[in-house]
Symmetry: C2
């Protein structure tokens, strides 16, 4: 399996080098580093703002990420483009709100195994962009942007792919006599008939989820070692800690937080291995590593879901707990170590990476990212001053500077699930009041008006496209 | 004022050196350090578990404490002996639950300016203990263990004192026409007629609280510099971020969290100055610095109160948010850097310091502390396996290992203030479920029974003493 992966990476990197659209200087700089940096994005699934020890968790101990955070930048106002999986990933990889690509929907919140759609061909993924700059690209882990052949990573800018095409709780395959609670809280890989893919081929089904995190990390390290000489982009999207939870045997029972903690600590361990590999190969001098999560914690799953720390609510909602996530940037000697309370978003990674790779941004479409480099390298103010909080295709809330206005609030899969349309929208200063406790709309009518205008302007610029999530076949799930 | 402080410290340190009860070797070790370490305890007031950036706060940025935490140990299961000021401080300084000294009460939660009592003479404070080992001792900041002459620091083991005798919101002196809200949210020093003491003398009234944190830090640094040659114990108990909030001009408007953030960031700045002083003088090699807080955040004060992060409720309660606090131990080269999810308490500091100073513990009384040195220096398991959560003289809850049993729950000064006596006590696994969401009493009757037995045994060993907080004169407040 691994040999196959290496082979395809090698073949593809040769193929790429012959079809460059933009010339890239591979020459090494004075320090012997490559002239454009490598990029590694490590993306956890359903990991909440409060789930790492460097973000205050008391019993999930993550020394590797804590060290990365201390040596690099720990961002505390960093957002995803949506509070569920598919649209959040679309946002990261396209640098555009998912509504622009049709990768969010009011009918289905994410793609399912019987979904027909996926990421449209005309979208430029971050991998496609970086390939223009001569990068070797690999996707490892969960995809969830369409499992039909044309939507797979390998057909969307990635030279290679190893992972599961959608969430690890899909292809639900519960045996008779096993309760739903048991299926999740005492999960076995065979309860979920999820396929494991190598490029386009199914190589294991059901995927043995016990060893998935471990195998992802091994594949990541192999990829790094084999691509020392080329600029590379590695997108390592862990399937976990999304339920059902699994960890390799050597990590079980290690965290006082229980299985959820074991799972996160295994991810942390893998991050340490990757950092170590970068140091061993000298690539630490020329590699940006970003660690973040696709959305907040899935609170419905109680102790098998995570924690948003002091933030309100979790996954699936447009409260801060749903959309503000841990985000750590690491590149020793380049990134100025600090805790950053400026705004940033996964939407900005397309822009940041393009800047680092000396690539122009696409000019034929609206891009929603900002260049965070002035913050990363010079501790300047962030150019990002606003954020729109979509649920499906609807703007539920918007932030402008310190202020956030909620038009609609809705919890998700919690006992008091409800949707409230606020005739008088709620206003919070989320810098002073990060837990969104004190509605101050009455005191700041001019702020309400200003955000309202911003939302109207944003809406006017959105071009409706085909909903990629709406259509599903009548197959199981 | 400062000259006076120096003078008294010098005079007293000469006096002490002539009245040693136990001989201490002042000789220097191989590295030129003193043979017993200095101890600095920095104690914040009403700072919650979630109020530092290293504990996850998004807009209170505390680089100095973050660095201390990274270089030393950040404890995440560290408790105070009570969730309000007076009993919490009594617990720290005596190493005993406050019920044993009469420093908690069901009549008054803390001492007030018209209170008659204070810390009993027969109690041995940590300062008195360390003086037996030849330490020069100083208390700087808020005392709150009795403001009658005999209760003051100077008569309880401290060679010198500079600070306010009780909380900074006492001696309430609101002018006509100023609302209560205004008094606190737009506070001026003159609204609170709190005296500032030097040893036993009132030197300023009302204390200019705007510059109090700054002056405490200056006094602390002066004390350190002047006592390079002696082992010293510095108890720096900041009056803030207890309401009303004040910060020196140069710190105002610096935090996105608002005034509360400014205040905490000023404390952080001072911590940095102290660490810098230790490094400059070479004392960093021989000084244990502990930073912690007296109880959780005072939630009633909304944005002028703090945050307990993912923990439930705050100050005044026996939920985790009331009694679990940030705790950072720093002593480079000695303390093994780590995040510690073992249990510890301010009750243990008496024991830790005695151990470091080669002093025997008192044997004529029950001590409630444990020796945390095996954790600090060798990353071993903590000897502390339990904690009793008192409110006044009553045990509301108790923790044994991962499990916490609530007999009574009660919020304090929140809108839904209430007291619930649980006929069927609530059981939480606070390691797996730190936010105390999921009552599992039904599933673990044997754990309920075990904790119940532990509580009964503890109660049987408590000797009732005079309530020091009950009596108040009829003066104002």
């Amino acid at each position: 399996m691994k040999t196959k992966l290496i082979a395809s990476v090698l073949i593809l990197s040769i193929a790429i080098s012959g079809c460059q659209t933009k010339s890239v200087d591979y020459s090494r700089d004075d320090e012997g580093s490559k002239s454009v940096p490598n990029v590694i994005i490590i993306f956890a699934d359903d990991l909440g703002y409060g789930d790492l020890s460097c973000y205050g968790h008391p019993t999930i101990i993550t020394p590797q990420l804590d060290k990365m955070a201390f040596e690099g930048q720990k961002w505390t106002n960093f957002y995803v483009a949506a509070s569920v999986c598919t649209p959040s990933r679309a946002g990261l990889l396209t640098g555009r709100y998912p509504l622009r690509s049709g990768m969010c929907s009011d009918k289905n919140r994410v793609l399912f195994p019987n979904s027909v759609g996926g990421i449209p061909e005309k979208e430029i993924t971050l991998a496609e962009q970086l390939k223009k700059g001569g990068y070797v690209t690999a996707a490892i882990g969960k995809w969830h942007l369409g499992h039909q052949k044309k939507f797979l990573p390998i057909n969307n800018g990635f030279d290679s792919y190893f992972g599961i095409p959608y969430s690890n709780d899909m292809d639900y395959n519960r045996p008779e006599g096993v309760s739903k609670h048991e299926t999740f809280w005492n999960a076995k890989p065979e309860y979920f008939n999820v396929p494991l893919l190598m490029n386009e081929d199914e190589i294991e089904r059901p995927a043995n989820q016990n060893t998935l995190t471990k195998r992802y990390n091994e594949a990541a390290i192999k990829f790094i070692k084999e691509n020392k000489e080329h600029p590379f982009f590695l997108y390592l999207a862990h399937s976990l800690p999304h339920v059902p939870l699994f960890a390799a045997e050597e990590h079980l029972g290690k965290s006082k937080r229980g299985l959820f903690g074991d799972v996160v600590q295994e991810i942390d361990y893998g991050v340490g291995q990757i950092i170590e590999t970068l140091k061993e190969t000298g690539l630490d001098k020329n590699t940006l590593v970003v660690f973040t999560s696709d959305n907040g914690p899935w609170l419905w799953y109680e102790d098998h879901g995570g924690s948003a720390g002091l933030l309100h609510d979790g996954k699936g909602t447009t409260w801060e707990g749903g959309m503000r996530v841990p985000a750590i940037f690491w590149w020793p000697g380049k990134i100025k170590p600090a805790v950053i309370d400026e705004m940033g978003s996964t939407l900005d990674l397309f822009n940041v990476c393009s800047k680092l790779a000396n690539l122009d941004l696409p000019e034929d479409r609206i891009m929603d990212g900002f260049d965070l480099c002035p913050v990363l390298f010079d501790l300047e103010q962030s150019p990002r001053k606003n954020m729109f909080y979509y649920r499906g295709t609807t703007i539920y809330a918007a932030r402008q500077g310190a202020y956030k206005l909620h038009y609609i609030t809705e919890t998700w899969y919690t006992k008091d699930d409800n949707k409230i349309i606020h005739e008088n929208p709620l206003l919070f200063n989320v810098e002073v009041d990060p837990s969104e406790k004190y509605n101050i709309a009455d005191q700041f009518p001019e702020v309400v008006k200003s955000i309202d205008n911003m939302v109207k302007q944003h809406k006017a610029e959105v071009i409706q496209v085909k909903d990629q999530l709406a259509e599903r076949t009548k197959d199981k799930q």
